[in-house]
């Protein structure tokens, strides 16, 4: 198959999106709750991922 290439942020986005959808589907019963939970989970994945990235930034030099 053709190798896939993504940037760090694109990988983070894909990972957060897929896992959030799965969490929302498995974790909640009503459709509106699923959407809310998936959106919340997606936002937290991004927020925590970017925050951890900035926290580690000084050590990359």
């Amino acid at each position: 198959m053709v190798p896939l290439h993504f940037s760090h942020f694109q990988s983070l986005l894909l990972f957060a999106l897929i896992i959030s959808l799965a969490f929302g589907t498995l974790g909640r019963r009503k459709p509106i709750e699923r959407v809310k939970y998936a959106a919340w989970s997606f936002a937290m994945f991004l927020l925590v991922g970017i925050a951890l990235g900035w926290l580690m930034y000084p050590f990359s030099k």
């Binding site: 198959m1 993504f6 799965a22 009503k30 459709p31």
Partner: protein, 175 residues
């Protein structure tokens, strides 16, 4: 997008229908307030007699869910969840293999390799799909390959979580 079987009380409740909640005398917002008998019957569509689900059946549901992602939920007629699990695990495996992540083999040299194999094997039959897709072998010298390894491991752990969820649903504990 995710239509569930309306004949299944659990599925109907999942869709937000209040009919199932009224028939069991429970609120859709408080599913855990139902008695264990109600939940057992609700979570086992083929168990119309109301008897407790057999241990063999619940284990079979969990094993089916592990072998083919989503199959455990499909056996319980929870179509939406079955499709979502199949697609998410399948997409993670496809991405992980496409990014040339490491698909660990059994009998790894260190604890990380053995743990990685356990995680990868969690995808069930998709483990062999990943190996077949990754014809060029892994390449973790770049970030893509490293991320691909995590995607594959996450797919396995997610599928194990889904199989456990199907097992619990078959037992009537939650759905």
């Amino acid at each position: 997008m995710f239509e569930e079987n309306p004949a299944n009380p659990v599925a109907a409740e999942t869709n937000g229908s209040s009919a199932a909640a009224q028939s069991t005398g429970t609120s859709a917002d408080t599913p855990n307030s139902a008695t264990s008998g109600e939940l057992s019957e609700a979570a086992s569509p083929g168990n119309s007699g109301g008897e407790a689900p057999s241990a063999a059946r619940t284990v079979a549901v969990a094993l089916a869910g592990w072998l083919l992602p989503g199959l455990g939920h499909a056996l319980l007629k929870m179509w939406g969840r079955a499709l979502a699990i199949f697609l998410t695990v399948g997409f993670l495996v496809y991405l992980g293999a496409g990014m040339r992540g490491n698909v660990f083999e059994p009998g790894g040299e260190d604890a990380f390799a053995r743990l990685g194999y356990v995680a990868d094997a969690g995808t069930g039959s998709f483990y062999f799909v990943a190996r077949a897709l990754e014809s060029a072998g892994p390449d973790v010298s770049h970030a893509d390959g490293d991320y691909g390894t995590r995607f594959l491991a996450t797919a396995g752990v997610l599928n194990l979580l889904a199989a456990l969820h199907a097992y619990e649903a078959a037992r009537g504990r939650k759905a």
